[in-house]
């Protein structure tokens, strides 16, 4: 951790010297400088918004916590200007292996095809990711990041929210047009708006240890059911940067957490797994978890994102990644509403889209957890049948659930225009754009996701030798007289395109509509719908 700045100073702000009747007004206040709050603030600032970002601590949290960041998250971070740094530091992987006892049951490749800028996943300690995001914030004068500023009270008004903020110099107040609560699973803002946070509590206990060692294991996600070194339970091994390895061991429901988290008790467990004890502990944590979400992510002018709004089990990399998807979903909508380009009701689509995604994440991670920790003897029997069938059947392998890894949700949303043409493939409205390798006309390579960034990550028409297009929208042209080349034909096949095919992409890179031969009127109507005028 030595080369990463993790400690930040509190600085008194002019807002704190204002008289009670002359409180500072800010269009957006983001609460919580974790990965979600930082990313959201950067995206808003890049779109031209001024953002106040408050955090109750003055340091980046210790421990690895989240480690798996998805392709989707990396593509978002590319748009924020930090993707390359994350990938350079991170451990790239796409292969997972599942073992049962001594033998390997099967392996899966999360990104078997070529022609994508970003890998399926990187592993990167959360504190590295946060530190890079904080560095990026430092390059953006539009973000006013205030450490040791803790929101202690919230009062809704007609046109915004008044926050009371506690600091080492005492409390002060600010007015916010919108407050975005990214203050984590124990969100105090959630309590301040009086929202329920309900769901399923799991009694199973898991031990996480990040250990430092030099080892020659491949950069793959290894998951064991009933391994010889940890009989009757599950185990996970995954590589992180800096020679750190994530080990996750399922413990019994009645294990004593105080006893189990003692390093002298963890050490023999890990040594049994590794076959040696030449390792140092970076971080040990014992956890139970809940799968739950808020009923409403939008509480008038207080909007919740990330763990503050929803929590899942850690198997599947659905925590931080879904929070980042929240951020990319919300920022362009909030930007448009603040500019008066879209009605405030556009924000409701954030709740519609992201609460459905949260339900999907909770469903997937609950299934994984139930498979790992069967609740009844019959459940255990069915799981045993799956594991034994997996040895000799393909369908058995596919039923083994050692954590289904996060993929972007496909939104059923009022912002989408239903297909009116016949499609044999390609991302449908509500799905996220697919990357593909393109080339400039001089042959120089460029990925489609980079082309999207270069036109400004706004509403964008992706046209394959398009007939015509409205002038008010950014455009990426592939083929035709002036467009990018598609040297391998992958963009054309991934988008099921023929000359004239046009996709309307939202500013977050999701497909809003697609047509084989659109008219101006069709594109205008799709654009209006996607912007919240429906």
């Amino acid at each position: 951790m030595a080369h990463t700045k993790t400690q930040f100073g509190y600085r008194r702000h002019g807002d704190q010297d204002r008289a009670a009747g002359n409180v500072a007004e800010h269009p957006v206040v983001v609460v919580g400088a974790g990965p979600v709050g930082l990313s959201l603030a950067i995206d808003l600032a890049q779109r031209g918004q001024k953002v106040v970002l408050l955090d109750d601590a003055d340091r980046i949290g210790e421990g690895s916590r989240a480690i798996c960041f998805s392709k989707r998250s990396l593509e978002f971070w590319d748009r924020l200007g930090v993707g390359q740094r994350m990938v350079d530091k991170g451990v790239v992987w796409s292969l997972g292996k599942i073992f049962h006892g001594h033998s390997q049951l099967y392996q899966f490749n999360l990104l078997p095809e070529v022609g994508h800028k970003r890998p399926a996943f990187i592993n990167l300690q959360q504190f590295h990711a946060e530190a890079y995001l904080v560095d990026r914030v430092g390059e953006l004068p539009a973000i006013d990041l205030r450490w040791r500023n803790k929101v202690v009270a919230l009062e809704s008004r007609n046109d915004g929210v008044t926050l009371t903020v506690s600091t080492p110099d005492g409390p002060y107040s600010i007015h916010a047009g919108y407050v975005i609560a990214c203050d984590g699973a124990r969100s105090s803002l959630r309590q301040m708006v009086g929202a329920e946070f309900t769901g399923q509590v799991f009694e199973d206990q898991f031990l996480i240890a990040d250990v430092k060692m030099t080892a020659e294991f491949p950069t793959e996600r290894w998951f064991w059911f009933d391994p010889p070194f940890h009989a009757g339970r599950s185990a996970l091994l995954h590589k992180q940067p800096d020679d750190v390895w994530r080990i996750d061991l399922q413990l019994s429901r009645d294990a004593d957490p105080i006893v189990e988290r003692q390093p002298e008790n963890v050490r023999p467990r890990i040594a049994r797994m590794l076959g040696h004890d030449k390792f140092e502990f970076e971080w040990i944590s014992l956890y139970k978890f809940q799968c739950r979400r808020m009923d409403r992510f939008v509480h008038d002018r207080v909007i919740f994102a990330g763990d503050a709004a929803h929590q899942v089990s850690p198997f599947g990399a659905r925590g931080a990644n879904s929070g980042l998807e929240d951020a990319e979903n919300l920022s362009w909508k909030l930007d448009r509403v603040l500019r008066g380009q879209s009605p405030a009701s556009l924000l409701e689509s954030y709740h519609v889209e992201r609460s459905a995604a949260a339900d999907e994440n909770i469903r997937e991670s609950t299934r994984s957890t139930d498979f790992m920790a069967p609740a009844t003897s019959q459940e255990a029997r069915l799981r045993q049948a799956v594991l034994s069938l997996a040895k000799e059947t393909e369908f058995g392998k596919r039923m083994v659930n050692g954590g289904r890894l996060s993929v972007p949700s496909v939104y059923e949303t009022p912002l989408s225009t239903a297909d009116c043409d016949n499609w044999r493939g390609g991302p449908r409205p509500g799905a996220s754009m697919l990357d593909a390798p393109l080339a400039f006309r001089d042959g120089q390579a460029r990925f489609l996701t980079d082309a999207f960034i270069s036109v400004g990550t706004n509403f964008t028409l992706l046209g394959f030798a398009p007939d015509e297009e409205p002038e008010a929208v950014s455009a990426i042209r592939i083929g035709g007289e002036y467009g990018y080349l598609d040297p391998q034909g992958l963009a054309t096949s991934r988008y099921d395109a023929e000359p004239g095919t046009t996709y309307l992409l939202r500013p977050d890179g999701y497909v809003a509509a697609r047509f084989k031969h659109p008219t101006h009127a069709q594109l205008d109507a799709a654009l209006a719908r996607a912007a919240g005028f429906s």
């Binding site: 029997r381 069915l382 045993q384 049948a385 034994s388 069938l389 059947t393 039923m399």
Partner: protein, 80 residues
């Protein structure tokens, strides 16, 4: 597709016998393990989630009906 409940085997007795005989000489626990594997194999062969759900509903009604009958019998016995 919907769940077929018409008779599909040319010789239904053969099918029933084959299943019964598969359980011969198995302990209760082994029989339960065998059934679990059989259910998964057959479910995958059907490969249609709607048909599977219909089958589950039909099978579950047997269990619930049997439970109700048992209750009624107990009540009748108590009344007698």
């Amino acid at each position: 597709m919907t769940l077929s409940t018409s008779s599909n085997f040319a010789k239904p007795d053969d099918a029933f016998r084959a299943i019964v005989e598969a359980h011969r000489n198995l302990s209760e626990l082994q029989s339960a393990d065998f059934d679990a594997a059989m259910v998964l194999i057959l479910a995958n062969h059907i490969g249609d989630i709607d048909v599977l759900r219909e089958a589950i509903a039909l099978a579950k009604r047997r269990v619930l009906d049997a439970g109700q009958q048992q209750q009624q019998q107990q009540q009748q016995q108590q009344q007698q």
